[in-house]
């Protein structure tokens, strides 16, 4: 691993896009109707393309010797920097919508900040991504509203999905390794904590408008993924989201994460089976060309 903290930054965004793109692609052929097969397949295609652009950027900037295929498919699980949220299985439609809504709103806050990065080539790629991500956020918000306002079963499934995903969505903004250097160089224009509070404030308002803000007050577990034999150790069970509080009418983060560790390669038990499938062809046929 190169010592330049820009590598961890690029890989955090790229690996999020690759891994959630892989999960989205698992809906192909299985979504509730054909329009959603197309929607999730298209979003997956965009996300994987964004990962590819960023891997190419990392190599062009001399941050790594590995080409885009080797970065996407040739690393060991502990070398991936994606947030744990992105690797979770799709579950039901409620969880998939909740996760896409939380991830893509978080991603848009992060990309808006990176668009003014002092690293010009990164800002250029991010601007290309943002034009396409608009459609992802639109898709997620559309389904969020439909399920939130729909019959009780869909609304309940959305609420369950949000409750399950919200803590790990907060951890999308887990601080990056050597973040202070990224900030002082202007590569990362705002701290992860600052971006987290912008996102949480906005999402909190949208959840309140849908009378779903109770998901911010009910949560399953707290702790960090640790690389033990089983790969995953859950912390204690709690019933408030770690570090999330409402102050003066605004939802804010005050420290603590659930499902953190992804940015340092610590993943859940769900990651390895997905990684095995995603990388199988590459590992079975080294050097194969498409």
């Amino acid at each position: 691993m190169n010592g330049d903290p820009r590598l961890a930054l690029v890989l955090s965004v790229a690996d999020d896009e690759l891994v959630i793109g892989h999960r989205h692609s698992e809906w192909t052929g299985w979504a509730p109707h054909i329009e959603e097969d197309l929607a999730f397949s298209s979003i997956a295609q965009d996300e994987m393309a964004h990962a590819r652009l960023l891997y190419g950027l990392a190599r062009a900037a001399g941050l790594t010797d590995r080409d885009e295929d080797a970065l996407a498919l040739g690393r060991e699980p502990a070398e991936y920097h994606n947030a744990v949220l992105c690797e979770r299985p799709n579950g039901d439609w409620g969880y998939s919508v909740a996760r896409q809504y939380l991830y893509d709103t978080a991603d848009s806050v992060r990309l808006e900040a990176l668009a003014s990065s002092s690293w010009r080539e990164l800002a250029d790629v991010v601007n290309v991504m943002r034009l396409e991500e608009t459609y992802h956020v639109d898709h997620a918000r559309t389904w969020f509203s439909r399920l939130a306002g729909g019959p009780v079963t869909g609304r309940q499934r959305l609420a369950d999905g949000l409750s399950k995903a919200i803590g790990e969505a907060v951890a999308v903004f887990e601080p990056l390794p050597d973040e202070s250097k990224l900030i002082s160089d202007g590569v990362l224009p705002r701290s992860s904590e600052d971006l987290l509070n912008e996102w949480l404030g906005a999402v909190g308002k949208e959840l309140e408008a849908a009378s779903l803000d109770f998901v911010l007050e009910r949560h399953g577990s707290v702790g960090e993924m640790v690389p033990t034999g089983s790969g995953e150790v859950r912390g204690e069970e709690v019933f408030s989201p770690p570090g999330v509080n409402r102050r003066d009418g605004v939802w804010i983060h005050e420290g603590g994460f659930a499902g953190a560790g992804g940015r340092r390669g610590r993943h859940s038990d769900d990651f390895v089976p997905m990684w095995e499938e995603m990388t199988m062809l590459y590992r079975t046929h080294p050097g194969a060309r498409w």
Binding site: E35, L38, A39, S41, S42, I43, Q45, D46, M48, A49, H50, R52, L53, E121, D124, V125, N127, V128, M129, L131, E132, Y135, D138, H139, R141, T142, W143, S145, R146
Partner: protein, 177 residues
């Protein structure tokens, strides 16, 4: 005697002519210059560099377009080293599609994204009923509904015309505005 500038501009003209003959493999009536993806042609004494802008970054036709463009330019200026690559600044937007390109899309049964006030609108609530601003490429009616902001390729949305009862596709607007 021919000056170096004249030679360069002749080469440049041949390169642009060659690029104007390269078609999008997924929308055959449309050329890459119609789509506005040729950003820059740079000619030196012995080399030609062409910068292209990707339409949608995950479009699988991009590699084909790059290779087709490279061989077309090589044929046009065989005495030069040719390099064709994609660049990411400025971002491509659908406002770069020329009037010819809009017509070529329509001839292929695709509603063009339009520009400014005529732009196809993909409403924020994509599943909500209502008009989309897309004109039916078959009958010209604007009494149409959006089926989905996604379609058979990354650059297309799917619609239904309530006048002639045909499903149709539109080239998705991609814009900074």
């Amino acid at each position: 005697m021919v000056s170096r500038v004249e030679v360069a501009s002749d080469v440049e003209r041949r390169v642009w002519d060659a690029l104007a003959g390269v078609h999008d493999p997924e929308i055959p009536p449309c050329t890459i210059t119609d789509l506005g993806i040729v950003e820059r042609v740079h000619v030196t004494t012995d080399a030609v560099e062409v910068d292209l802008l990707p339409t949608f970054s995950g479009c699988p036709a991009l590699d084909v377009i790059r290779e087709d463009a490279e061989s077309a330019v090589r044929r046009a200026v065989p005495e030069h080293d040719v390099r064709v690559r994609f660049v990411y600044s400025p971002p491509w937007t659908s406002d770069r599609i020329t009037a010819n390109g809009q017509e070529a899309l329509r001839s292929h049964g695709l509603t063009p994204p339009g520009q400014g006030a005529t732009r196809v609108v993909i409403p924020l609530a994509s599943l909500a009923p209502g008009t989309t601003g897309a004109t039916c490429p078959f009958c010209g009616s604007s009494d149409t509904v959006l089926e989905s902001a996604f379609g058979p390729t990354l650059c297309r949305s799917t619609h239904f015309c309530r006048s002639c009862r045909n499903p149709f596709e539109a080239f998705k607007p991609k814009t900074l505005a």
